[in-house]
């Protein structure tokens, strides 16, 4: 797998990250070496092996649906960078 600048930029966008050109160059090299390293897995014959998706041995952990509180609105807002104390404030998303 060859890593190039376009790929780094696309991954950065998907990851919602922003990098300088210098950082992009370093990442291109790092990702190239890490991806080449993990490609070693290609040597393992996994024909017919079911992928392991869940580690927990618990199945269908259910409880009664009881109405109860969790945290208060004040607590939920406590760590928000921008709020009017009722809602989280976000940058404008609707254009006129």
């Amino acid at each position: 797998m060859e890593v190039n600048k376009t790929m780094v930029e696309n991954l950065a966008h998907l990851s919602r990250l922003h990098f300088t050109d210098e950082e992009k160059n370093a990442l291109e090299q790092d990702l190239q070496s890490i991806i080449s390293f993990v490609e070693k897995l290609g040597e393992v014959d996994t024909t017919g092996v079911q992928p392991l998706q869940h580690m927990s041995t618990e199945v269908n952990v259910l409880r009664d649906d009881i109405v109860q509180g969790s945290i208060t609105r004040e607590e939920a807002m406590l760590n928000a960078p921008a709020t009017d104390k009722t809602f989280f404030k976000v940058p404008k998303v609707i254009k006129k």
Partner: protein, 480 residues
């Protein structure tokens, strides 16, 4: 002068009036201040800890029943929530974040009478093996300040190593409790997957993460495990199996003959330090001469476990860390953004450190369209094969022994420029997380470079009892 040997001894000195919880906390506060240069604590909860100690002393005087961890002074890794206190995951993105609830492990510690004295420095979002990735500076190994304490739970390990608390909690996703325990010469336990609730533990890779315990006595670690383990309404992945009385299981154990396996490939691996290999080979001969069965087991997947680990954990990390959007909490870009997407990018890029961003990028790659099957699914298949192999091994053996780390504590800057070299140092620890079994590092050996190193013992899922019994016997150097 206050001194600490074990929780049991400490609690009897409390009961017979030789010391008080307030005296114990005051002692540790002084020690933390005196050892400030180690950078093991990001914050000390001085007033809360003293107030809790005073409450516990009053409780004892009132004659009311005392908790199992009455008066025990604990520190917690900076990824575990303690209501009303800051938790930052060693990251600028969470600087100043206040927990609005207790992690279940913390809730249980407090209910059992423990005192939480502070939060420990760690690699950012628990990603790292040397504590060099903390946004708040590295932690120093107390035995040799030029060497790393290991990571990612480096601060929690050094807090116990340097006598700044009695026990501490860390988290272990690929060795982050066992590896720093090895580097610091203490005990580090990663219980089996699902043994301890992760509610209130900041997630890194959810199918790997476990809260772990550091201590100097197996009995202390066992007692803490007994208190914090168990089913939880807030974490559906926790095992509903009954919790064995771990600490009791250490008492009155009659000598037994163990069946012990080791991976031949692990002891012959080119990355393994010769002294470490020899120490373990000598131990094997000694155990055999004592009548235990110690046998090599073939493990031809050894070279694939680190690649599988990095694919799966970075994938999970990229998903878990998507919650950091600068809106609900965390660092937010101030101005200079064109739209919401740009706001996310600027907030996240300024908040996360280099290693975290690199892992998010790799995780995004292995999950992206066109590469998902070749990387992510492939790693999940290898994980299944590892789990099958493990089940077979535990059909014939009680435990697996291995080195914890291929080389002893290294110096600052020695490995931080090469991500692959740093990843490969996890070769012996990531196995337990990939297959979900419990593992422990116990301080049995000393290297000619002057630093200690440990032996790793792993047992079958849900079999921490055997793990703890065997470790206790080995450490006390009594016949198993």
């Amino acid at each position: 002068m206050f001194s600490f040997h074990s929780i049991k001894d400490y609690q009897s000195t409390l009961l017979n009036g030789q010391t008080t919880c307030v005296e114990a906390v005051s002692y540790y506060l002084q020690q933390i201040e005196a050892q400030k240069h180690l950078n093991a604590f990001l914050e000390v909860f001085t007033e809360d800890a003293l107030a809790q100690a005073a409450r516990l002393d009053a409780l004892q005087l009132s004659g009311k029943p005392l908790g199992k961890l009455h008066g025990v002074v604990v520190s917690i890794k900076d990824v575990i929530c303690y209501k009303g206190h800051t938790v930052s995951a060693g990251s600028k993105i969470l600087e100043g974040f206040t927990s609005v609830y207790n992690a279940t492990a913390v809730e249980k510690l407090l209910a059992a009478g423990a005192i939480i004295i502070g939060r420990n420095n760690c690699d950012e979002f628990a990603m790292g093996s040397s504590n060099e990735n903390s946004a708040f500076g590295p932690v120093l190994n107390a035995l040799d300040n030029e060497r790393v304490p290991g990571g990612s739970s480096g601060g929690s390990a050094v807090a116990v190593q340097a006598g700044l608390c009695m026990i501490s909690l860390g988290s272990d996703t690929g060795g982050s409790v066992r590896q720093p325990a090895d580097f610091c010469g203490i005990i580090g336990l990663k219980p089996g997957y699902g043994r301890i609730s992760r509610y209130g533990l900041i997630a890194y890779a959810s199918s790997f993460d476990q809260i772990g315990i550091f201590g100097t006595q197996v009995s202390d670690v066992a007692l803490a495990l007994e208190v914090i383990a168990g089913a939880d309404d807030f974490d559906s992945t926790v095992s509903h199996q009954p919790i064995p009385a771990f600490s009791e299981s250490l008492q009155n154990t009659s000598p037994k003959k163990y069946r012990i396996a080791y991976f031949k490939e692990a002891l012959e691996h080119p990355s393994l330090d010769t002294e470490i290999a020899n120490a373990i080979k000598t131990l094997i001969t000694q155990l055999q001469s004592e009548g235990h069965t110690v046998e090599p087991v073939a493990f031809d997947l050894l070279d694939y476990i680190v690649p599988a680990y990095y694919i799966l954990t970075t994938a999970e990390a990229s998903s878990n860390l998507s919650r950091f959007d600068g809106i609900k909490y965390g660092y937010a870009a101030k101005d200079d953004f064109a739209n919401l997407t740009d706001f996310y990018k600027k907030s996240r890029s300024a908040g996360f450190g280099k290693e975290v961003k690199r892992r998010i990028m790799l995780g995004t790659f292995v999950l992206s369209a066109g590469y998902y099957d070749a990387y992510f699914t492939k790693a999940q298949q290898v994980r299944r094969m590892l789990q099958e192999t493990t089940k077979q091994v535990f059909g014939n053996y009680d435990v697996i022994i291995a080195p914890t780390v291929p080389s002893p504590a290294f110096k600052f800057g020695e490995k931080s420029n090469d991500p692959i070299e740093m990843f490969l140092a996890d070769i012996y620890t990531v196995f337990a997380n990939l297959v979900g079994i419990p593992g422990i590092s116990i301080p049995l050996f000393k290297h000619s470079s002057g630093v200690p190193f440990g032996l790793q013992v792993m047992a079958a899922q849900d079999n921490e009892v055997t793990l703890l019994q065997l470790s206790d016997s080995l450490l006390q150097n009594k016949p198993l």
